[in-house]
């Protein structure tokens, strides 16, 4: 019963997202929607490894960048269409995930968080300095295939739907129970017959696959990548965490809502509240995120989705009896 209701909800959301471009004609808004959907993917992936499995990743940018650079380097070195990156980007990200996971997941404690943080930064420096291979800080420029934004929109919508679909399938299976058990108590999980190292690796593999694919999509859509963009600590890795936290950690829809809020706020500030506010306001988006995260953690630590009932109570004032 419950799962069929969830499926219905998902189909309705997908349908609304599918017909949205019929009503929104301006490219600018389609662009924003594409960004939102991309962040839905990255946020959901972070949520899988960190929210559900409890292994906090500070380096989603590493997987994102590796996916993007797979597509880019195949274009510059092998003269293949960058669309091949969409097929292979996820797999190269998974190779990176295997290495990090193999090294870190036999250990407990903050090692995984530190290793992912380092991996992102190390890869950024490598991409900056290995000019022969990655073109260095000049970056990789490709010709976009479509001039219209609609094909990209439907492509990323499909990707996001796949990603959310896979994650919700996983979370409703043995894997999901195991991931959450590992988050709650590793000792108990081991004593229940759960191979914690193996299942942490599986979680990271799924997470990195979709993040890498999103990276490859980013190159195809934007037509340009450089190391400071795709391996960015604050613009990718940290933002992935913020999307998860604001939307709601360990909820299926949390990162989706989080992505909507984050991209919305980012644009609001970048355009200085659509040009209404003085120019210096546009510098303030990082601060706005900071304040938002502090407020989220203080007042609704489960995020917008996790604490939805609290938010509802805030706006719909009922008599105390009715509320309880």
């Amino acid at each position: 019963m419950k799962s069929s209701l969830g499926l219905l909800k998902a189909l309705v959301v997908l349908m609304i997202a599918g017909i949205l471009p019929l009503f929104i004609k301006q490219d600018y808004y389609i662009h924003l929607l594409i960004l939102v959907l991309m962040w839905v993917i990255i946020g959901s992936c972070w949520n899988l490894i960190s929210g559900y499995t409890g292994q906090v990743s500070f380096g989603q940018a590493a997987f994102f960048g590796v996916g993007a650079y797979t597509a880019g380097i195949m274009f510059t070195k092998l003269e293949l269409s960058p669309w091949w990156g969409l097929v292979l980007g996820g797999w190269t990200a998974m190779v990176l995930a295997l290495i990090i996971g193999y090294l870190c997941f036999r250990l407990r404690g903050p090692y995984f968080a530190l290793a992912t943080l380092a991996a992102g930064e190390i890869l950024r420096l490598i991409a900056n300095n290995w000019v022969d291979f990655t073109e260095g800080m000049v970056g990789i420029l490709i010709m976009q295939t479509f001039s219209s934004k609609l094909p990209y929109y439907y492509m990323v919508l499909g990707l996001a739907a796949c990603c959310l679909g896979v994650i919700s399938l996983v979370m409703n299976s043995k894997l999901g129970y195991y991931f959450v058990s590992i988050r709650e108590d590793q000792d108990a999980a081991e004593s229940l017959g759960i191979n914690t190292a193996l299942y942490k690796n599986l979680s990271l593999l799924i997470s990195s696959f979709f993040t890498g694919t999103a990276g490859a999509f980013y190159l195809n859509y934007m037509g340009f990548i450089d190391p400071s963009v795709v391996f960015s600590l604050h613009d990718i890795s940290i933002q992935a965490i913020l999307v998860g936290i604001i939307g709601g950690v360990a909820t299926i829809w949390g990162p989706a809502i989080g992505a909507l809020i984050m991209v919305g706020i980012q644009e609001l500030f970048r355009t200085a509240i659509f040009g209404l506010a003085p120019k210096w306001v546009s510098q303030g988006h990082a601060m706005a995120f900071g304040i938002l995260v502090v407020l989220t953690i203080l007042f609704m630590s489960n995020g917008v989705v996790g604490d939805w009932s609290k938010i509802k109570r805030l706006f719909i004032r009922k008599s105390p009896e009715a509320a309880s």
Partner: protein, 209 residues
């Protein structure tokens, strides 16, 4: 038939001998008690059996084969389940989810796991609490959840670590009642009350040092 055997278990933490030369045998179907004062190393023996700590020396035999170098989760799959003295529920999951997670040890589909979990929950009398979060349960029920969860892995031996410690007499009776329906278990208890009542088949009194 002897199903489980330890030979000369020794564990040193640095220079401290926590367990020094413990040997015992458990028959199939037997309820075996291990008693001793606080700090004598009862829980440590359990941790050695499960390979939470590596043995300094000695041998653990289960079904005739040595299990001393197996990983903790493999030992569980072989059929040795344990509970924790300091309970370790999966705090933010419900009772049903807790037990379902451990039922996946033997089955793969979610339907079968839930069915098995519900059987075990019913068997241990936790039905009224199955939708409650584990962290909200009182200690007696959390200890019972530990047992339920261990049993959902369908073990051949159940290692119960102080499942009655810190409980009221009423709760102890309930705990024993659910234990007695089990087939084979190794118990560890420093409450003599339970053993006075003839609960165990055999008891190893373990004086420590």
């Amino acid at each position: 038939m002897i199903i489980f055997e330890t030979k000369d278990l020794v564990k040193f933490f640095g220079g401290l001998a926590a367990v020094n030369g413990v040997s015992f045998q458990i028959e199939q179907g037997e309820i075996f008690g291990l008693i001793g004062p606080n700090g004598s190393g009862k829980t440590t023996i359990f941790n050695l059996i499960n390979n939470y700590f590596p043995l300094t020396s000695g041998e653990v035999l289960f079904d005739g084969r040595s299990i001393k170098n197996l990983k903790t989760h493999k030992i569980c799959h072989l059929g040795i389940a344990r509970t924790f003295q300091v309970v370790k529920p999966l705090a933010r999951l419900t009772v049903l989810e807790n037990v379902t997670a451990s039922a996946f040890c033997r089955v793969n589909s979610i339907k079968e796991a839930q069915k098995l979990a519900l059987e075990m929950i019913d068997f241990c009398g936790l039905m009224p609490y199955k939708e409650q979060q584990a962290k909200g349960l009182p200690i007696g029920l959390r200890k019972r959840l530990e047992i339920t969860r261990a049993m959902a892995t369908q073990p051949k031996i159940l290692l119960l670590d102080e499942t009655c410690a810190g409980l009221t007499p009423k709760e102890v009776d309930l705990a024993i009642e659910s234990d007695q329906r089990n087939q084979s278990s190794g118990c560890n208890d420093h409450r003599h009350r339970t053993y006075h009542e003839g609960y165990y088949d055999h008891i190893a009194a373990y004086p420590g040092h």
